[in-house]
């Protein structure tokens, strides 16, 4: 078990720069998740950690060991691939044994390890089958088993759940977290799925454009996104973000469409400042008797059991409409065509130029 530290990693393919000076820190035994949209460089970063690609610049340390120039086999890692990458010509047992055989593991030890892992993953009955005779979920478990059986110091996961159906995905997600808690092996997990990212991570790195946008506990990042990209990327449905100008008129602050009474967030900001204003769908409530901050013309209502997701448009000035999504409790009936008065419980402000969160 090791900690992982990457410093100023740069990776270029020809003239394309994929990673622009990434810093990564994962403590010993932690479960780190790298999340970001496709093309953000998260898979490349994982491949650099695995040793399948060489960094153009920067260094990678596992614990005290500098592994930047080491071959994958010398890094004491295991990796689970998106496609599982099982050896198609070998039985499940052979697949599990492969890494051990290469290390000349003694056969009784090898057998006991394989049996143990197979029992743990419930694949004992599959040991003599070829991969092509397995279902997607079974293959996924074999791929996991192949990683576990070698007892490496670091697990790398490259979107291991993306080929599974949603129900199985949720199940395996829980299994992976359980396995991690059991073994306590440091893990780095790449995904573009924010649910996986939020549920699995001890520490989350949000990547975009070859850089780490924010690092921290998932809930902290959710609550305090560092910038507009992170704010929009995490959370479902996504945060409503609009351009706005801060104004003060007749004793009220207005930010674009929002007319707000005494918002603490604005203390210390100059009127006339251009910014983005973001409101999470969950951070609005029906106004009731209090004055409403905004009016939402309902277009589509999605019912998800306890909650409703309401898609509509803000109607502040006629002819000036902006889409807006709100999540409301299901006990209040909402129909298409209604105009709902909403109160904003919490908002996020971002600089128009840097897109960074404005903190007051």
């Amino acid at each position: 078990m090791v900690s992982v530290r990457a410093k100023q990693l740069i990776k270029r393919f020809g003239t394309t720069t994929v990673l622009r000076g990434i810093n990564l820190e994962v403590e010993d035994g932690a479960f780190a998740v790298l999340v970001g949209p496709s093309g953000c460089g998260k898979s490349t970063l994982l491949r650099l950690l695995a040793g399948l690609e060489r960094a153009t610049a920067g260094s990678i340390c596992f614990g005290d060991r500098d592994v930047t120039e080491l071959e994958p086999r010398d890094r004491d890692i295991a990796m689970v691939f998106q496609s599982y990458a099982l050896y198609p010509h070998m039985s499940v047992r052979r697949n599990l044994e492969f890494g051990l055989r290469l290390r000349n593991t003694e056969s009784t030890l090898m057998n006991s390890r394989v049996e143990e892992v197979a029992r743990m993953l419930d694949i004992t009955h599959l040991l003599d089958r070829l991969p092509k005779a397995l279902s997607g979920g079974q293959r996924q478990r074999v791929a996991m088993g192949r990683a576990i059986v070698r007892r490496p110091a670091l697990f790398l996961f490259d979107e291991p759940l993306s080929n599974l159906d949603p129900a199985l995905r949720a199940q395996v997600r829980v299994d992976i977290r359980k396995l991690h808690d059991e073994f306590g092996v440091t893990s780095v997990y790449v995904t573009h799925d924010q649910t996986e990212a939020m549920t699995l991570a001890d520490v989350l790195h949000v990547l975009d454009n070859g850089e780490v946008q924010q690092r921290g506990r998932p809930i902290d990042i959710y609550r305090e996104p560092a910038n507009r990209f992170v704010a929009k990327f995490l959370g479902s449905p996504a945060m409503n973000v609009n351009e706005a100008i801060l104004e003060r008129a007749s004793g009220r602050w207005t930010v674009g469409d929002l007319a707000l009474v005494d918002p603490q967030e604005f203390a210390g900001l100059e009127p006339g400042r251009e910014l983005f204003v973001g409101v999470r769908p969950h951070d609005v409530t029906l106004a009731g008797s209090e004055p409403a901050d905004l009016q939402l013309a309902v277009e589509v209502v999605e019912t998800l059991g306890p909650e409703l997701t309401v898609h509509g448009k803000l109607v502040t000035e006629p002819g000036f409409e902006r889409p807006f999504v709100a999540v409301l409790p299901a006990d209040h009936p909402v129909r298409r065509g209604d105009v709902l008065p909403l109160r904003v419980e919490r908002m996020h402000l971002f600089d128009r130029i840097t897109e960074k969160t404005l903190r007051c």
Binding site: G51, P72, R73, M79, P88, H89, R146
Partner: protein, 731 residues
């Protein structure tokens, strides 16, 4: 409906009119001339009053083209060919005797005696002689003027030249390894390849042995280049690297004005006091049976043999006429050849003569390689001749065959009846009728183009005798092959020995094809490689070049004195001061086999490379990466992941490659030609020899082919079984 009737009507009309149109067709004349001789012929034809259709047929294909057309009433009305083939043509009915009127003209008053004898077989006149060809001595005039000596008249004078010539220049160039040229030397010792009286092999005895020893001595003394073929003789003389050369009129046509030369009589061998006497070939115009009925063809025949035509031929192509009634030519070349032809021995045109060449050539080569003393080689030649000329197996009663065929048909009929009785059979058939209709054309085409010829060929294995008069012999051909015709089973040239060589040949080749092809395929599939596309194209080139072109090029490279390989050896010697001897590639089995293998590997690896490249696309990159993370080195990834994963694709390619190699006629025939002494022949090239160089024993060759087919069928079924077995085991 109307359209169909119209088409039928057109066909009917064409069928009716065709004979009328045909009657007005020009006379068809086939020949094998090229260059000046062809131009001369065209000029002669132009002077003919009538329509002539000329067709130049390659010399090597002449006989087989005639044989496949003339018996069907197709082909030429008349053709020009060497008289040696007349015996064969007569047996096959390809040539018709001259009509009385023309035969009467074949008299000493008009034609040279030898030329009349050449076209007359058992009293029947079979053609009109046109020209005569034989070997003579070419002398490089300038070279002799430079030395200040007279051109030589004896062989010993030529030998004496050797010391006075600059390094790299031979005193005499001739095709020492061939029986055709050696026959001239043999004649000086009073011998002949074939005894004309008894029509029996006579390249044996003291005269033959002595002539061979002399020939070997000439080569060992450096007087004559070793392993020379016609092209080499021409090139040496052309380049001034041979003071004299023994060659025919074709050399003069090749030389043009490049070298100042003179043609003289072949030299006298002082040891016997006799002059070397070459074999004489007479070119004659011959009639096909169809042409013999065609008055225009007869007129053209007369025209071709006329004095006027002979003059054109002499002037344009400098060819020596067969006519005796013309004034002596002013051309010194023709004068010399006329003098030589008068002294030459007419080549016999019997079947026995055609069977002489292979054993005689092999005996000469064997002695020249120094493998065995002349006596042994000559005795072996005799045995080979007798083996080829052995009496065909006696006719067998076809009853067993008929019984087997009858039983098979009965069995088939029984199966059909049983099918017909079942109701489902009928409904099935009715349902499948449209499907049968769809495939019927394909089945017909495959049947006519593939199945029928195979059945025909396989059927021929049960027959023996002359091609035009084959008779049923049952399994006698197979019996003869499998018992090595009475000789010891493991004697050279027996089926089992050739089979062993063939298997060795196949295994070595396929292993190298696979090894090199896969190595290159794997190297080329690496994305990091620069100029990958260029290499890929370059490496496929050997595959794109026709295999016989490659084979001839490699044969040239392996020439002991002048080949590229020897050039490399010389370069190494010059560079590093080593003293490596040039290798006589075709003198030993091991080196000749290696030369064949080298050529065939060059031809064969691109296929395996391409298959490997294709198979590698089926190996996902992430599987290899998974192995890398699992701890596999590059070599382990190759042996434990890549190779097992591409194996299912490679195995059919290997089976295919093995079959191709097993039957790789081109390389064996063209590179080593079976040398030394037929040891590098494989089954197909051996079958070819029985069919085409040994008295046209088609039945015997067909039996070889059937055996080859059965062997391949058996082994590929075995591979299939093996593959299925291992597949099942792995599941």
């Amino acid at each position: 409906m109307l359209k169909r009737s119209a088409i039928a009507l057109v066909f009917l009309l064409v069928w009716l009119i065709a004979p009328i149109v045909q009657a007005k067709q020009p006379v068809k004349l086939w020949h094998a001339y090229r260059g000046a001789e062809e131009q001369a012929l065209q000029e002669i034809i132009a002077a003919f009053d009538g329509q002539v259709e000329l067709l130049a047929v390659p010399y090597d294909a002449f006989g087989s083209k005639l044989q496949s057309t003339v018996p069907l009433g197709e082909g030429p009305d008349l053709y020009i060919d060497a008289h040696e083939r007349l015996g064969d043509y007569r047996e096959r009915g390809i040539v018709a005797p001259l009509p009385e009127a023309l035969a009467a003209g074949l008299a000493p008053a008009f034609y040279a005696d030898k030329t009349i004898a050449a076209v007359t077989i058992e009293g029947a006149a079979l053609g009109l002689p046109l020209s005569q060809k034989c070997l003579a001595l070419y002398v490089n005039v300038e070279l002799f003027a430079g030395l200040g000596i007279e051109p030589p008249t004896t062989l010993e004078q030529i030998v004496g030249l050797a010391d006075r010539l600059p390094k790299g220049t031979f005193a005499l160039a001739y095709e020492a390894r061939g029986a055709y040229a050696h026959a001239a030397l043999l004649a000086a010792f009073g011998g002949a390849l074939l005894d004309v009286e008894t029509n029996d092999y006579s390249f044996e005895g003291p005269a033959a042995a002595r002539s061979l020893e002399l020939a070997v001595a000439l080569i060992e003394a450096g007087v004559v280049p070793e392993d020379a073929d016609g092209a080499l003789v021409t090139n040496l003389f052309k380049a001034g690297q041979a003071a004299t050369a023994i060659s025919g009129p074709w050399l003069a046509a090749d030389l043009g004005e490049r070298v100042a030369y003179r043609v003289m009589l072949l030299p006298i061998v002082e040891e016997t006091g006799q002059r070397m006497r070459p074999l004489l070939t007479v070119e004659a115009a011959m009639l096909s049976p169809k042409g013999a009925q065609n008055p225009d063809a007869l007129r053209l025949l007369e025209h071709l043999a006329s004095a006027e035509a002979a003059t054109i031929r002499a002037q344009r192509a400098r060819s020596l006429t067969a006519r005796s009634d013309l004034p002596l030519s002013q051309d010194p070349l023709l004068q010399a050849f006329a003098e030589q032809a008068a002294l030459a021995d007419l080549t016999p045109s019997t079947a026995a003569m055609r069977a002489v060449w292979e054993p005689a050539n092999r005996a000469i080569r064997k002695v020249m390689r120094g493998d065995v003393p002349a006596d042994t080689a000559l005795a072996e030649g005799r045995r080979r001749f007798d083996d080829v000329r052995r009496p065909p197996p006696p006719p067998a009663s076809p009853t067993p065959l008929l019984i087997v065929l009858g039983l098979l048909s009965l069995f088939g009929a029984g199966v059909l009846v049983q099918r017909a009785r079942q109701r489902e059979g009928w409904t099935d058939l009715r349902r499948s009728l449209p499907a049968y209709a769809y495939i019927s054309l394909g089945v017909l085409a495959v049947g006519v183009l593939v199945i029928l010829p195979i059945l025909f060929g396989a059927g021929a294995a049960l027959f023996a005798g002359k091609p035009h008069a084959m008779y049923y012999v049952g399994l006698a051909n197979f019996y003869e092959i499998l018992t090595a015709r009475g000789a010891p089973l493991l004697s050279s040239g027996s089926f089992y020995v050739v089979l062993a060589v063939t298997v060795l040949w196949t295994v070595v080749n396929v292993a190298l094809h696979l090894g090199i092809g896969m190595a290159l395929g794997i190297a080329l599939s690496r994305p990091a490689m620069r100029l990958r596309g260029v290499y890929r194209v370059l490496l496929i080139v050997p595959w794109a070049v026709p295999s016989y072109v490659t084979a001839l090029a490699w044969r040239g490279m392996f020439h002991r004195q002048f080949g590229a390989v020897t050039g490399v050896i010389h370069a190494i010697n010059d560079l590093f001061g080593a003293s490596l001897e040039p290798i006589a590639w075709f003198a030993r089995f091991s080196t000749a086999f290696t030369a064949n293998v080298a050529t065939n590997v060059w031809l064969g690896f691109p296929f395996m490379m391409v298959v490997t490249l294709g198979a590698l696309t089926a190996v996902p990159k992430d599987v290899l990466e998974a192995a890398e993370v699992d701890g596999a080195t590059r070599w382990q990834r190759l042996t434990r992941i890549t190779l097992p994963m591409i194996a299912p694709t490679m195995i059919p390619a290997v089976t295919l490659g093995a079959i191709w190699t097993f039957n790789m006629f081109n390389v064996v025939f063209l590179v080593s030609g079976g040398e030394p002494d037929g040891t590098t022949d494989i089954l197909v090239s051996e079958a070819y020899r029985w069919a085409f160089t040994r008295e046209a024993q088609y039945g015997y060759a067909a039996a070889y082919a059937v055996l080859i087919f059965l062997l391949l069928l058996f082994t590929s079924r075995l591979t299939d079984r093996f593959m299925l077995g291992s597949k099942r085991a792995s599941q």
